[in-house]
């Protein structure tokens, strides 16, 4: 059968498609190996956080509190600034629209729901990716490149137990705490703008907020905070421990780590929001 023009075109298109699919192979494998690596690191972080210390496999006491204070107390100013501004901008942006429909009294409820369900956890997570996640990758990455991680292994000190577990636990505990604080500060920011721009008195702002909020909104936000804390700590530690190749490699590791954290946090936020709406 002679090759007609159409047949040729189909064949070459199929061939091109096939080559494209084959070219995806190594990339997909690489992606899967990363996912697998992060998952394994998560499991061993759980082990070295909750089981290892009781079996004498690792000791957390000495590093845990400095790390926690770094993640928690020292992140509080920046987290609260972002939350305060988010709350106030929220009122500014929605106030005019709601006022047109004579619904300005609904502003407190809107701020409360938006801060607890969505913006509190999300903005906190974004601040912590920049402040804590990037530094986790940088510190562990430079330790890896400087042979410090190998040195720990030869001293029979498990690097995950010594380096990752305290960082993981700190994020697991402190991110929900910061999220709760961000609720309060965000609503305070909203209340200030509501009072100064729209003349809603403080008392009625608080009353409306309490009226609108249920405990499930708070729990949902706190749950999100915990999940984000786990994701950020495990992903950023993973990219630190797998950094290779001097300063360039380290810079690349930090960049990839921050971008991955951002994408994964936003994705998991979407998934969690969907799930929480189903359940609650």
């Amino acid at each position: 059968m002679p090759r007609t023009g159409l047949r040729l075109r189909i064949e070459s298109t199929l061939g091109l498609l096939g080559r494209k699919i084959l070219a995806l192979g190594p990339g997909a494998l690489h992606f899967l190996s990363r996912v697998g690596g992060v998952w394994m690191l998560f499991l061993s972080s759980l082990y070295f956080s909750f089981i290892g210390p009781w079996l004498g496999k690792n000791k957390l006491r000495k590093q845990l509190f400095p790390t926690m204070s770094n993640v928690g107390a020292r992140s509080f100013p920046i987290v609260s600034m972002v939350a305060f501004l988010t709350g106030s901008v929220l009122v500014l942006q929605t106030g005019n629209a709601l006022a047109k429909f004579g619904q300005i009294n609904e502003v407190p409820g809107l701020v409360a729901l938006a801060m607890t369900r969505e913006l509190g956890p999300l903005m906190t997570a974004i601040v912590l990716i920049a402040r804590v996640g990037a530094s986790y990758t940088a510190v562990l990455g430079s330790m890896q490149i400087n042979e410090e991680v190998t040195a720990l292994r030869t001293m029979a000190i498990h690097p995950i137990g010594y380096l990752v577990a305290p960082r993981f636990l700190s994020m697991l505990v402190m991110v929900p705490c910061l999220v709760v604080l961000s609720f309060l500060v965000g609503m305070a920011g909203g209340a200030l703008i509501a009072w100064t721009v729209y003349d809603i008195p403080y008392q009625s702002f608080v009353e409306r907020t309490v009226f609108y909020l249920s405990m499930s909104d708070l729990y949902g936000g706190i749950l999100k905070g915990m999940v984000f804390g786990i994701l950020i700590s495990v992903i950023s530690c993973y990219y630190g421990l797998t950094a290779r190749g001097g300063p360039t490699g380290l810079g690349r590791a930090i960049m990839v780590s921050v971008v991955t954290c951002l994408v994964v946090v936003v994705l998991s936020d979407a998934v969690l929001t969907g799930l929480l709406m189903r359940i609650v």
């Binding site: 510190v139 400087n146 042979e147 030869t154 001293m155 000190i157 498990h158």
Partner: protein, 270 residues
């Protein structure tokens, strides 16, 4: 787990070790013993497999075939957990020192003690001072690794490796990046540990001056094979052109990747 007989004085035995990364074979049938209390230098050009051999001996890498026996325990097939028990018998000084930069020198030395012993803080403090005194660094106890010189960092790394009183010390390129006096000082420390504590030392290096000062025996590697095990004298008297070239640093010779002076000039003038 193999146990060697107690009268055997070999503290380390490397037996037919092979190591390949993918299809690239780095070590081929490497065998040699190391006796208790001696200083053995592992020599060879870059890319000859020295670092791989060291990483195999300290359990960071696993051999593809063969066995490595350290103080009676074959570590080649051990789980990470079993390996941790053996790891307390030896200390390692890395090329960069590899001190934890977030801690002071004395905290670095205290780390293995805090992690592996139940000693109280006061005892640990005393032990750290003893180790620091051994390497002549008492004055730098509270400085951070980044605040002290390269030679001091390496001596601090030796102090940390000594923390748990190991029987064996591994040194990875101790003279890399140091001035001649700092190198002599480190060599003096290696000799001192041998005479005072009967320390077995394995030194990976390619600096001949240092080898002449410290080595009881040498193991020479070339492209993944042992081409000589013997005393310094054996090394100097060897007729092997590869060893002669290594000792003189001549560009003309059998070593891979080298071109002769004439070829170089021809290439340059072309």
């Amino acid at each position: 787990m193999k146990k060697t007989s107690p009268e055997n004085s070999n503290i380390i035995e490397v037996v037919d070790v092979e190591k390949s990364f993918g299809s690239v074979s780095v070590l081929k049938g490497v065998s040699f013993p190391i006796q208790k209390g001696e200083t053995v230098c592992i020599l060879g050009g870059s890319g000859g497999g020295k670092s791989t051999l060291l990483n195999l001996m300290i359990g960071i890498l696993r051999p593809t075939a063969g066995s490595i026996i350290i103080d009676g325990d074959d570590i080649s097939g051990m789980s990470e957990q079993e390996l941790d028990r053996v790891r307390r018998k030896f200390g390692v000084m890395f090329q960069s020192g590899a001190l934890l930069n977030s801690m002071t020198v004395s905290e670095n030395i205290a780390l293995p003690l805090e992690y592996h012993t139940q000693l109280d803080a006061e005892t640990i403090d005393t032990m750290v001072k003893i180790k620091l005194h051994q390497v002549d660094l008492l004055h730098a106890a509270d400085r951070r690794p980044s605040e002290i010189s390269g030679g001091m960092q390496k001596r601090a790394a030796v102090a940390r490796a000594l923390a748990l009183d190991p029987k064996i010390l591994f040194y990875d390129e101790p003279s890399a990046g140091l001035d001649p006096i700092a190198v002599s000082r480190l060599d003096q420390l290696i000799n001192q540990l041998k005479t005072t504590m009967r320390m077995t030392s394995i030194v990976v290096t390619h600096v001949m001056e240092s080898v002449r000062r410290i080595a009881d025996r040498v193991v020479m590697l070339d492209r993944g094979r042992v081409i000589l095990t013997g005393t310094l004298e054996d090394l100097e008297k060897s007729d092997d052109p590869r060893i002669k070239q290594f000792l003189t640093g001549d560009l003309t010779g059998p070593s891979a990747g080298m071109i002769s002076e004439q070829e170089y000039l021809d290439d340059l003038l072309l």
